[in-house]
């Protein structure tokens, strides 16, 4: 379980996250939803241990997060893979660090099987620059789940993809999470409400300036429905309306915030 209590952080005097309290049970798929600049990516980096909170605490299974967290692996929107290594070498590098006792042949087999799992069986010897954006994200996901980690952190991983690739990768991530049988917790940052409704078993809506937790919704029922049925389901649509209204209120608040429009700084 991930437990966040009163987590706050400020950059250059500006509060980015304000006393976030959040509990993420094991096996949950939590979507962090919010407009850009609300601190949802910062929150993800705090969970990963890449940043340190000014106050408050984050624990994973009762242990305080301090420095890059071993229990977590991450997928970023960009630059997850090392461009100077083939996809296979990218996976093998991660696997070697996670399982130093395995032989090269074992690592290779593992890497191949995880690439196979995300539908990239033929890309072992390809450099990331030779792959499409969607394939690169598949490889990044393969690397992230190949190492034994209980928490998968994803920072707008499909933000730069075209709609078809995006839908395919959403299906992949949803399936992988379902197949993990509650063994893996996912925290997924997005600003797309429908993406959150399709993927998340829980949805946390963040408000901006400063980043606060506005709403935490349960969406576990969504997992029973495939995509076509989900967006025809009454309770999902009700949840969508509810989240949209929270989201919109926050956006309007930000637009009306006079402090944002200093001379020459505005839109």
């Amino acid at each position: 379980m991930i437990q966040c209590t009163d987590v706050s952080i400020a950059f250059q005097g500006k509060t980015v996250l304000d006393r976030i309290g959040l509990e993420i049970p094991d096996g949950a798929f939590l979507c962090l939803l919010g407009q850009s600049g609300c601190g949802k990516s910062t929150f993800l980096r705090l969970l990963a241990g890449l940043l340190k909170a000014d106050s408050g605490s984050i624990t994973i299974d009762g242990r305080e997060v301090d420095g890059p967290e071993k229990a977590c692996s991450v997928v970023f929107q960009d630059y997850s893979l090392f461009p100077w290594m083939t996809t296979g070498d990218n996976l093998m590098l991660a696997l070697k660090a996670a399982c130093p006792d395995k032989t090269r042949a074992e690592l290779r087999n593992l890497a191949e099987s995880y690439l196979e799992l995300v539908g990239l069986g033929g890309a072992f010897h390809q450099y990331p620059s030779a792959l499409s954006g969607g394939m690169r994200q598949r490889a990044a996901i393969a690397r992230a789940i190949s190492v034994p980690c209980r928490v998968l952190l994803m920072d707008e991983p499909f933000g730069a993809l075209d709609p078809v690739n995006r839908a395919m990768l959403q299906d992949l991530v949803r399936t992988l999470h379902a197949d993990s049988g509650g063994q893996r917790t996912v925290v997924f940052v997005t600003h797309d409400v429908d993406e959150a409704l399709y993927l998340g078993t829980r949805i946390a809506v963040f408000g901006s300036s400063p980043g606060r937790l506005l709403a935490l919704e349960d969406n576990s029922a969504s997992r029973r429905l495939p995509r076509e049925k989900l967006f025809a389901d009454e309770s999902t649509l009700a949840l969508q309306r509810k989240i949209m209204s929270v989201y919109r209120a926050d956006m309007e608040k930000k637009l009306n915030d006079k402090n944002l429009f200093h001379a020459g700084n505005g839109i």
């Binding site: 890449l50 991450v74 970023f76 960009d78 100077w84 290594m85 991660a94 990331p128």
Partner: protein, 296 residues
Amino acid sequence: MKILLVIELIALTAAAAWKHDWFALAAGVLIPAVALVRVLLAWKKERRTAIVDVAVVLESFLLLWQLTTSNRTLLDPVLFPTPEAVLRLFFRELKDMLHGMFSSLYLLGVAYALSLATAIPGGLVVGSSPRLRNAAEPFSKVLSAIPPIVYIPYAIALLPSFKAASIFVIWSGAFWPVFVSTIAGVVNIPETLLDSARMLHLGKRTFILRVLLPGAMPSILTGASLGLVFSFLLLTAAELIGATEGLGWYVKNFSDFADYARVVVGIIFIGIVITAVSAAFKRIEKRILRYKEAVQ
């Protein structure tokens, strides 16, 4: 352009036949022949045009050289040897010059390898720590701005042998561009990529060798190619001052004897050697950065 080439070809061949000038005959036939073969082998149209252009410029230069030096009253024959004399001398001197080349390349190789071996690890360490970076910056700014040529007389006086002195001078010339570009390369690795690396919990050694070094590599290679140019500059400069063999010494020695034909031969040979080394460097660079050129 093609017409020009044909005219020149005819002019040179005619001159050659008239004067039994073997050089002009070789130039008039050989260069167009090589150009023709390369044009036939070239795939792209721009490439073919470029080859013809280069051949025309080369032919024009040789024609001008031939015409101005064959008339002995126009230019001083001691200072301006004929192309034929230079060509003959080139092959006669090749053995001596190759000997000089090995001596020069040995010095260059040792010094350049030393500068890479010090500048790259140093740059990686300094680049990855903001504190060290800030501390090193004023020194690298001032020291890299001093042209290392000014160290040459002092280094020769200070160090026990000419070899040690020139190695030191070449090292100090190549060190700074590589060092500074390694630091820049480390600083310019995208932060997200470093975050990805941190989350993989790599060992320190693995992190440096498989993330930091390749991440900085494009920048390192830019600095290294600049360092190579500096190295050649300093090598020949050092040899002009204190050597007893080598490429720079060859030119300096024969200009002391007013043997300008050999000076010209030496200069041409130096040009060929540096071009060959640079071409080899470019190939290595391309090979190292091959991951960039993959197309979808």
